[in-house]
């Protein structure tokens, strides 16, 4: 029988003796590529209990057991490196960008808060916050540097804030500049995500919008996984806490996970939100599948979704009447 091993093909007899061998050269690169090519090869698999090391010694591929291991070590190591470098697909880059965006947002917000606390002591009347405040401080520093034509000038002149010492001013200005560059960074990442989504998942971008689409890919782990999810899973991605509460105890099932940020859902009245979330999720899963398996853009998806949502809303124009509970008290929900 024929047996594939990482160092070549062996032809063995009935008792397991090696009749013939076609060996690969002892070049690591060649062995790596050959070994990787065997991953999906279902023919000539080694039989149960087959010992490739013994075979390698017998057929003369290696002289000693130590040589076998050292060569195997190099080959597996290089093969793994090659596979890892190939694993960074475009959707993985989007995931990194989404996570970076969340980190940048968190950092920016807490630094912004710190800046506003800090500068508040010197110019509490400014009424500025966030990026505007950071830009203001980076530009002017002390409120005394404002020109008379600036709209904030009267407020600055009558401010109850303390005088900003030069040393503090330098520090605050630098701090504000860093925050400004973080805001800039945020915009760049957002643009990057939008552009990459257009390339990687145009349909998902169309139906979900770039940020929601990217977040769905990020939570699913990859575009492939998202495409394999049933739409009911997509509907509740990001609501795992509520979902498991529902599965464990008698809590109500979640209507929507992060797809709640979809404008069709968060603008809908409460009594149709679950229905609309289901419709949106089904189109999202279609979009992800088209993106992963064919990649062609299909604008009819959004049209169909909008028709469906309109239909749901016209069929349910009013909130449902609460059912009168007759007789016994309603069961109390068990909480865990």
């Amino acid at each position: 029988m024929k047996i594939n091993t990482w160092f070549g093909v062996l032809e063995t007899g009935k008792a397991g003796e090696i009749l013939e061998s076609r060996l690969i050269s002892k070049d690591v690169r060649e062995l790596v590529l050959y070994s990787l090519s065997l991953r999906d090869n279902k023919s000539n698999l080694p039989p149960e209990g087959f010992d490739p090391k013994a075979a390698a010694l017998k057929c003369g591929f290696v002289e000693t057991s130590a040589e076998y291991y050292s060569l195997l070590h190099e080959v597996t190591l290089e093969a793994a490196k090659l596979q890892v470098s190939g694993a960074l697909t475009p959707d993985q880059r989007i995931i990194q960008a989404v996570e970076a965006l969340d980190d940048v947002n968190e950092t920016t917000n807490s630094l912004s808060e710190r800046l506003s606390e800090w500068y508040g002591g010197y110019f509490p009347e400014s009424g500025l916050g966030g990026e505007d405040l950071a830009l203001f401080i980076a530009k002017y520093g002390s409120r005394e540097n404002l020109g008379p034509q600036d709209p904030l000038y009267p407020k600055a002149r009558n401010s109850m804030g303390a005088k900003l010492e030069p040393a503090d001013e330098v520090l605050l200005k630098g701090f504000a500049e860093s925050i400004c560059s973080l805001y800039e960074q945020r915009r760049q990442i957002e643009i990057y995500i939008e552009d990459s989504m257009e390339l990687v998942a145009p349909n998902l971008k169309l139906v979900a919008g770039p940020m929601l689409g990217a977040r769905l890919i990020s939570l699913a782990g990859s575009l492939e996984k998202l495409a394999e999810f049933p739409s009911s899973t997509i509907q509740v991605i990001g609501a795992s806490k509520a979902l498991f509460k529902h599965l464990r105890a008698r809590a109500p099932s979640p209507k929507h996970g992060i797809i709640y940020s979809h404008p069709l859902i968060n603008t809908a009245p409460w009594w149709v939100r679950g229905k609309i979330a289901r419709a949106v999720a089904s189109k999202l899963s279609l979009a992800a599948r088209i993106d992963f398996y064919s990649g062609k853009k299909d604008p009819s998806l959004t049209e169909k979704l909008e028709t469906k949502v309109l239909q749901i809303r016209t069929l349910n124009p009013r909130p449902p009447q609460k059912k009168q509970v007759s007789g016994a008290k309603p069961k109390k929900k068990r909480r865990k």
């Binding site: 070994s35 149960e48 793994a80 960074l88």
Partner: protein, 226 residues
Amino acid sequence: MAEVKKLSGGIFEIIKGKKQLATKNLDPGKTVYGEKLIQVEGIEYRTWDPRRSKLGAMVLKKFNIPLKEDSKVLYLGAASGTTVSHVSDIVSEGAVYAVEFSPRSMRDLIGLASRRKNVHPILADAGKPDSYSHLIEPVDLIFQDVAQPNQAEIAARNTIRFLKKDGYLLLSIKARSIDTVANPKEVFKEEVRKLEKAFEPGFEILNAKDLMPYHEDHLGVLAKLK
């Protein structure tokens, strides 16, 4: 002064104020995951945190760890190599075939393997042993820590292909990855039953204990072929 007690082949207990599990460092001077290095009589030991390693917890739970200096080990679910590094310390003359499916974890594992000659990293799905059968020799021990719902099946498939007749299977079963809502005790019972009947002739369970207080809802299992 620290005192060293040998627990079993390659596994030590260092008593230096408190008791600590340790292995001889095969890669002297280097730590892998922030563990401590302790020098005793010219030999460098790495402490082994049972809370970060199911195998470490099994040692403390008095499992018989069938590892020798020249053992060949198939390690399924190698992750970043925390435990793999200790197995590599123990089988200093043997080989560890470390199978891991996640490219992200593999990145760390490659870093480890490039410093340790007896670790052979394999990026593959442990549920598909055919995809790496061309690389692996018959092994003395299969250690499995994969946190997959079909872990019993994965163990069976790999055992049939790669375990020597007199070899052992060490398994860590995570109840929460099989059924998130069921009672862990029920899940364990069911999984052990599955293992015993996984294939012909099946496993003989030698030991099964939960890994509390080191790991919650985890069961350690030592088995061999019937």
